[in-house]
């Protein structure tokens, strides 16, 4: 069995989760401070990929990154790099669809953060950066972690936009989800079933890890009292 789709899926999900982690937190931090009207408008735009069909996201991305489209043509011209139909093209798709999950959970966590803690840090002479990384992030750890896990899971399972922007080339752009589709399409049910099992196993391990993490946190908190 060729394990490339597993390796490819994992690296795409890992890279896009890392990107979405910082992008989502950055957006949540600054957007939480904006006036309500601007916040509402940005919220709609940034959450849209969560509710749009992945094929719509894929089409929009192709309209932007395709070799004959503005950004894609410019990058091709300037760097001689094609943005679509490579293994890392899928990262664009997974970033866009996973971003709203990270952004929304992080924003929820930041909004329930007690602003007095930040103010206390600042009156004690600590920089905003220190307060953010040493107080706000640890206090909001659970929400941030939940967002990261959701974003990773979503990125790992992405199919629609990925298949449009990266296609399916065995050994080059194939991911678990596109492989399952391809194997089923070619009547290789046994092959498809193997990848389905792999996918289920990864998801189960993931959810188990999240559950363990949660119970451990609950226990440390209980031990406190």
């Amino acid at each position: 069995m060729d394990w490339f789709p597993l390796y490819n899926s994992l690296r795409i999900a890992a890279i896009s989760t890392a990107a979405v982690f910082f992008l989502g937190i950055w957006a949540a931090y600054y957007i939480a401070k904006l006036p309500r009207l601007v916040k509402g408008a940005l919220d709609v735009v940034l959450t849209l990929p969560l509710v749009l069909p992945p094929t719509v996201v894929g089409w929009l991305l192709l309209m932007l990154l395709g070799p004959k489209r503005p950004l894609g043509a410019w990058v091709l011209e300037a760097f001689d790099v094609k943005l679509v139909m490579t293994w890392w093209s899928a990262i664009f798709a997974t970033i866009v669809v996973a971003f709203p999950l990270m952004y929304r959970t992080a924003r929820g966590a930041f909004e329930s953060f007690d602003q007095n803690l930040a103010d206390a840090g600042r009156t004690l002479g600590r920089s905003n950066t220190w307060v953010f990384w040493r107080v706000q992030m640890p206090v909001c750890k659970q929400g941030i972690l939940a967002g990261t896990v959701l974003a990773f899971a979503r990125a790992l399972g992405e199919y629609g936009a990925t298949s449009m922007i990266a296609g399916y080339t065995p050994g080059r752009t194939a991911t678990i989800s596109t492989t399952v589709y391809q194997l089923w399409r070619t009547n290789d049910d046994a092959g498809a079933a193997r990848w389905v099992l792999v996918n289920v196993a990864i998801s189960a391990v993931f959810l188990l890890a999240v559950n363990l993490l949660e119970t451990r946190q609950r226990q440390t908190r209980k031990g406190v009292r």
């Binding site: 007690d114 803690l117 103010d119 840090g121 009156t123 004690l124 002479g125 107080v135 206090v139």
Partner: protein, 345 residues
């Protein structure tokens, strides 16, 4: 060494206009009802909120000056702010919380150890804030503030997060800590007892507007406004019409002598419960009242009285007497000495 504040700020329909000076060694109380702008004032001093205009100076250093365009960030103001719920960092131990406030990296561990000892927190140094008792949390917050070497200490309702039985003991501790502090102290409170015990100087804030700083005795003897009178414990305030050296109280159908000329701008008089007493024969300012209710307190009784000739919705008069006083009838003649009538704007 003094803090000087003169600021204005609009928050929605609420207008804050506060002016006071606090000197070293004399804790100044900002006394006001909930929502009068006390906490907003502290936040402006700390640099967390920005006033619309005015000046704030501390030891000659300008912290904020709208005209000169100066607005120091909170990090540079050196203001020790004790938050209502203490705002201890929940992800850090007591020791880390205190160390976080020390600016000099090399001195951090030493100062933290010294403050832990000084505030008797050594036994809980490695616990997190939610494992501490309320009193320990307050000590930790104070230790953290002092570790940051502040030039002024701001206390925002320091006992609001504590059970009342803890307050008596902690108040003594807090007072001792503040005595050793060599800068101005601003103590925000809505509790006059707390203020009377701890702050010789008082600035009353009424719906966003500060009144001149007065001494405690002055606040008690001559509060000046109805808000100040109520905050100083005077529960009976009633509409009054000045008339030379008497005031007439239309709600009670009474005219009382003040034995001093009553300024024409007086709108209200205050009568403290402890200044009302059963009238001696022939006493001035005596009038007949119906006893409405007798409220028993630990050391004294409060008797609610309705003066004869009261309008139907008129406020009741309160009289404080020794506990368990018995009244033979349901009516009594009481009197108020002219000098005890508080003339209020």
């Amino acid at each position: 060494m003094a803090l000087s504040v003169n600021i204005r700020k609009k928050l929605g329909s609420f207008q804050l206009e506060v002016q006071f000076d606090a000197e070293q060694g004399i804790p100044l109380a900002l006394l006001g009802a909930s929502g009068c702008g006390k906490s907003v004032t502290l936040r402006c001093i700390a640099g967390i909120l920005k006033p619309d205009e005015g000046q704030i100076t501390l030891d000659g250093v300008v912290l904020y000056d709208s005209a000169a365009g100066i607005d120091l960030p909170p990090q540079q103001r050196r203001v020790g702010y004790l938050f209502q719920q203490y705002a201890l960092f929940p992800n850090m131990t007591v020791r880390q919380n205190i160390a976080a406030a020390v600016r000099d990296r090399k001195a951090r561990a030493g100062v933290a150890a010294e403050k832990l000892r000084q505030f008797q927190l050594e036994s809980v140094a490695d616990l997190r804030p939610d494992q501490l008792s309320g009193g320990q949390q307050q000590r930790c917050a104070l230790a953290r503030i002092l570790a940051s070497a502040p030039r002024v200490i701001l206390l925002d309702e320091p006992f609001s997060a504590l059970d009342s039985y803890l307050q008596d003991q902690l108040e003594v501790e807090l007072a001792q800590t503040l005595e050793q502090f060599s800068g101005p102290v601003v103590w925000v409170s809505h509790d006059r007892g707390e203020v009377f015990r701890n702050c010789p100087q008082v600035c009353v804030i009424d719906r966003g507007t500060s009144q001149p700083v007065t001494s405690l005795e002055e606040l008690f003897r001559n509060p000046g406004t109805e808000a100040a009178a109520r905050l100083s414990g005077c529960q009976t305030c009633i509409r009054a019409v000045p008339g030379g050296d008497v005031v007439s109280l239309p709600d009670w159908g009474l005219t009382l002598s003040c034995r001093r000329s009553v300024p024409p701008e007086i709108r209200c008089v205050g009568i403290r419960a402890q200044h009302v007493h059963p009238a001696a024969p022939g006493e001035e300012n005596a009038f007949l009242c119906t006893i409405v209710r007798q409220i028993q307190n630990e050391t004294a009784d409060v008797i609610l009285l309705r003066p004869e000739g009261s309008a139907p919705q008129a406020p009741l008069l309160r009289m404080e007497l020794a506990a368990h006083t018995r009244f033979p009838e349901d009516r009594i003649t009481v009197a108020i000495a002219p000098q005890d009538i508080l003339l209020l704007h």
